[in-house]
Amino acid sequence: MPVTGGAPQAPPTPQPPGLNIVVLDPAHGGTDLGARGTGGIRESDIVLEFAAQVRGALEAQGFQVIQTRQGNANPSFDDRSAMANAQRGAIFVTLHIATTGVAGTARVYVMNDLPLAADSTGLIPWDRAQAPFLSLSRKLGDLVEGNLAQRFKGSPTFAQTASVRQLRTTAAPAIAVEVSSVTVEDRAELDHMAPGVADAIARGAAAFRPSYIVPTNPGERP
């Protein structure tokens, strides 16, 4: 055993790491095709292609990206949330293509009000895991929506609230980005939007980074 001279040095206090992980969720997949356009456009396919571009833009901003699905799989809502809930210092972005809305616009949704469960354990109930993160999600949502509105005229200026199933069980700042729409006649219209959507998400996440004090343990309240 090595012998050291002098007083033992105290180990350095671990600094809480900042936000560096984005869990990216291309919605649907497998037998769940999501929204379908008359021209054969399928939400489950398009979001996977959007995710590739969003991933690139996020990695360029220094984020590590975890995707909930790579191919034509369809993890459950809970499985997708679990990937984010197991991380420390992650945000969650779920990607969707709508049936409705003005083509060429994009909206960000955050979960609407969820009552905080009063418990003494400090643990977050799974079925309302998003509750303690609502204000952070709104901040992230507004930052991303602001960037989307600059690129896609007619998009809202701020994030909207909706009761999105995927967001409810996610214990992290979480947003849903929905692009309009699968009803475009030419799929190229959606393809042209992908770089702008990717850049807006990456810039919004980067702007959000300093404001998020990451919890010490995964699943902890912020």
Binding site: T100, G101, V102, A162, S163
Partner: protein, 232 residues
Amino acid sequence: MTPRWRLWFLVALVIAVAIAAIYLPILRRNIRQAAKLQQRSEEQARRELTQPTVINPGDPRVKAKLFWASGAADGTLAPVTVELPLSSDPVLRSKQVLNTLLAGPVDTEARTLPPDAALLAFYLLPDGTAISDFSEALATSTPSGIESEQMAADSLTKTLEANVPQIRRLKILIHGQEVETLAGHLDLSQPFIVSSNPAPMPRASAPAQVPEQQKLTPVAAPVKLTAPPNQP
């Protein structure tokens, strides 16, 4: 054929072509209208079969507020005033307004719920929780997407809030079953908040009695729909 007959023949042919050119678009339009009428009557028949309640001509006519799409691009809803005979019993009243909401507005573009969806059952618990059971079509025919599904749910909750003050929250079932989402996005596993400050339940909680001969009165009883007001 002599040149004269040939001329007559050509003239007749030109006239026939001209008549056909005028008549064909009219014929096509008539066929489309007939198809639409048939589709509507099928919808109506289905609605009458599945909604054997609840208009009671004896109920006082009141101005009900129903929420359909405003027509704006931002996916908002707008109230439309409809004069309806509404029961004072909260369950019957809820059925009346929801069935009228499902029947849809004059402007079909403003519809928020699928035309083939039907309300199968409606219950109201003493704590103000309403449980509405819709046919499968609500899930299969609502356009998939966060915006469209939230609009569908909002039109139900806002309409109930405006017309049935006793309701605190609304739980939506599809064909008697609890489902995870409406059409892939909107969370149906939790109830929706209708009112944070509901009115107390009426003392007589038993459903209002409807005369036997009126129980099968379809909802198709004429209702007068007014145009949406110019407000967001």
